[in-house]
């Protein structure tokens, strides 16, 4: 995408020691970077121009990152990646609930940050408007929570799954009863982690089966289709989040 028009990023962080080298690095990666050292300055910059993506530090003096993030999610559709010094699941959920698209934990690997920026931009392009982003997927009593990335079995028990497994199951839920070949699955599942790109899809499928199938050798949900591909056999419905 940065072949035709360069991608503009707004970097909001009060720490000059981080902001300046990061801006320099991102510029080197081909982005146009605007800098702001506070939420107030970010707001005034956003009044005159619209960046493609905002990188936002959570802990800042004055108005904090979460508050600005909420404002952005309500007024503009600009994607946001949070930069946080904490790293607990709670922070992530809070961040994602108020409308952030992703988050990275300090200190992050610069290359990983770039990968996530690209991934979020790609998602923003592909799904222009998905109001029901955080609706639960439901199939035969199972529930998949896209916001908290949690899988709950029919008895209400939490079944821990990895990020890759979550993405794959979500891809199946988005395309139930359709045959998806390995390339399609890889494309839908590929996320920020580099190692995901070259991991065998079949391996992920077998892990997922171990967790959701009653008998993983005789799968009910994820069926292998002759000629290369998989099909999710269950009917999937979307439902609102339980009151939290």
């Amino acid at each position: 995408m940065n072949d035709n028009a360069p991608t503009t990023l707004l970097l909001v962080d009060d720490e000059r020691t981080l902001r300046e080298p990061l801006a320099e690095y991102l510029t080197g990666q081909g982005f146009v970077v605007r800098e702001a050292d506070s939420a107030a300055m970010a707001r005034s910059l956003l009044g005159t121009e619209t960046p493609d993506l905002v990188l936002l530090d959570i802990m800042m003096p004055g108005e904090d990152g979460l508050s600005l993030c909420r404002h952005l999610a309500e007024t503009k559709k600009t994607p946001v990646i949070l930069l946080t010094a904490k790293g607990e699941a709670m922070d992530r959920i809070v961040g994602l609930e108020i409308g952030a698209d992703d988050y990275v934990t300090k200190p992050f690997e610069p290359r990983e940050l770039v990968a996530r920026i690209r991934s979020v931009l790609r998602r923003a392009e592909r799904v222009p408007e998905d109001a029901a982003e955080d609706m639960l997927y439901a199939f035969e009593g199972w529930k998949l929570d896209p916001l908290k990335r949690r899988l709950i079995d029919p008895e209400g028990t939490l079944v821990p799954i990895s990020t890759a497994e979550f993405r794959m199951l979500r891809a199946f839920c988005d395309h139930p009863r359709r045959v998806l070949d390995r390339d399609q699955l890889l494309d839908m599942v590929q996320g920020r982690e580099a190692h995901l790109f070259d991991r065998a899809v079949d391996n992920q499928i077998s892990r997922l089966r171990r967790k959701i199938e009653a008998d993983s050798r005789n799968p009910h949900f994820i069926q292998t289709v002759r000629g290369g591909g998989y099909r999710f056999a269950a009917e999937v419905t979307r439902m609102a989040q339980d009151s939290r």
């Binding site: 981080l18 607990e88 709670m90 290359r111 079995d153 008895e155 939490l158 497994e165 892990r207």
Partner: protein
């Protein structure tokens, strides 16, 4: 024996006071009883003595005066010596005295040697002379004279027949010729209730007082018990509930007040620690992030790699310290989770990094903090891979505990070092240099996670060699 004794303060104090009360009451009752007995005996001796003194006077000629005083106008002086006592006896209400040739003892008679001695003493003091003395206790039914006397007494004083004594004391003295015999009813102490009366009285009093005492004590021990529950809860999860309202007696109120102050102080310190660690985390992580970004511009690839490794090392240690500070204070409620799937997801993480981990599971559902337990299990597996040369993870149920077990085939840990290994910043001999990794917080954090779940982390050497580390979590 001692296991039947009460264990609580309330029970022990009540029992102690009840016992003391019972003993004191018992002694008291016994004393009262014996004083009364003594008084009754003295009374009996005096009555008998008086009558025997009087019998001499009557026989020596004072009788006229006496009789005249009692029944004026009667002539008694002309009566014969032999007649007189019998008549006198009849006149003087039957038991005053009779004159007999010998002291007749009956089979039912019971000698009263002690009182006989006292009676003899009394008579001597009063100048009544005698050569022999007898004192016996006799059932009223065996003595017609006594019966007549008592019947008359009952008539005159309006006693009910059952109120009359059952036995009578019969005393006689002789001057060598004949016997002067007198009688007196024996009033036994607490005749109505029997000798057990003082005991019964003490028992009732003790019960009554114990009940009152129990009521009063409960007012003291009630707040104490609440304070105990409160302290236990506080030690498990500090700062979760409102301070306790001081109540009960003044001392206990002050104790509760002091406890509240202590809770507040500890709570403030814990909060301060969290804020401080959070600040340290943030303040160190931002410059680390800046450093990490700058490292990208280092030209020399080998130098860059080493720098990246160092930064990752610092980050890892920082994360472990912060995690250790936060474990147990998670706001999120624990959730019912499939432990087999949890173990599988941890094992898969290691597989993705190219490690081989054996897994043997059965489906067990437990209520846990997913992120924390995963972290703890991850630490155990990574230890096994690092020091034990391989890891075998199993999920099983033993009794009412879920067990997440990680075994390796390494050298294990010397028995006397096992406890040390759980302490922060301790590492096994094999990993003295930092290259093999970790700040020595992995097992400490794992133990903290186990405790957060109300369970324990158990380390032991396997019989066949190698270390076994397991989480035992209550189901």
């Amino acid at each position: 024996m001692t296991r039947w004794l009460p264990k609580s303060l309330l029970g022990q104090v009540t029992l102690a006071v009840a016992l003391t009360l019972f003993i004191v009451q018992g002694v008291n009752g016994f004393l009262a009883w014996s004083i009364e007995k003594d008084r009754a005996e003295t009374g009996l001796v005096n009555t008998l003595g008086l009558r025997l003194v009087a019998s001499a006077r009557i026989r020596e000629g004072g009788a006229e005066k006496l009789v005249a005083r009692i029944s004026p106008g009667r002539e008694v002086s002309r009566r014969s010596e032999q007649d007189r006592p019998r008549r006198m006896g009849r006149r003087f209400s039957g038991t005053d005295f009779t004159r007999e040739t010998g002291f007749q003892t009956l089979p039912q008679d019971r000698a009263m040697p002690e009182l006989q001695e006292r009676l003899a003493e009394t008579l001597r003091e009063n100048g009544r002379e005698f050569t022999d003395i007898r004192l016996v206790e006799r059932p009223v039914s065996a003595d017609p004279i006594a019966q007549r006397f008592l019947q008359r007494l009952a008539l005159r004083r309006g006693y009910a027949p059952e109120d009359l004594p059952d036995s009578i004391a019969v005393a006689g003295i002789t001057d060598g010729n004949g016997w002067d015999v007198v009688r007196a009813p024996i009033r036994k102490p607490h005749e109505r209730y029997g000798p057990l009366f003082p005991l019964l009285q003490a028992g009732i009093l003790t019960l009554l007082l114990s009940f009152v005492l129990w009521l009063v004590l409960r007012r003291i021990t009630g707040p104490l018990a609440q304070l105990t529950t409160r302290t236990e809860e506080f030690s498990r999860r500090p700062g979760q509930s409102e301070p306790m309202e001081p109540h009960g007696p003044e001392d206990v109120r002050r104790l509760i007040g002091a406890h509240n102050a202590m809770e507040a102080r500890i709570g403030a310190m814990l909060a301060e620690k969290d804020v401080m660690l959070g600040a340290i985390g943030h303040d160190l992580k931002t410059p680390l992030a800046a450093l990490r970004v700058r490292v990208e511009s280092v030209e020399n690839a080998a130098a860059r790699e080493r720098m990246v490794d160092s930064i990752e090392d610092i980050t890892l240690t920082l994360d472990e310290i912060l995690a250790l500070a936060r474990v147990g204070k998670s706001d999120a409620a624990p959730e019912r989770t499939d432990l087999a799937a949890l173990a599988a997801s941890v094992v898969e993480e290691f597989e993705d990094m190219g490690e081989t981990v054996d897994l043997e599971t059965q489906r067990i559902v437990a209520t846990i903090h997913l992120t924390w337990l995963k972290r703890g299990l991850r630490n155990l597996v990574s230890n096994a891979l690092r020091y034990g040369g391989g890891a075998r993870v199993s999920v099983l149920q033993e009794g009412d505990a879920a067990v997440l077990r990680v075994e390796d085939s390494g050298p294990g840990i010397p028995e006397d070092r096992i406890a040390d290994m759980l302490e922060p910043f301790t590492r096994g001999e094999a990993s003295r240099n930092r290259a093999t990794g970790g700040a020595g917080l992995g097992l400490t954090l794992a133990r903290a996670v186990a405790e957060q779940h109300g369970g324990e982390l158990h380390l032991s050497n396997r019989p066949g060699g190698g270390l076994r580390a397991e989480f035992r979590l209550p189901l």
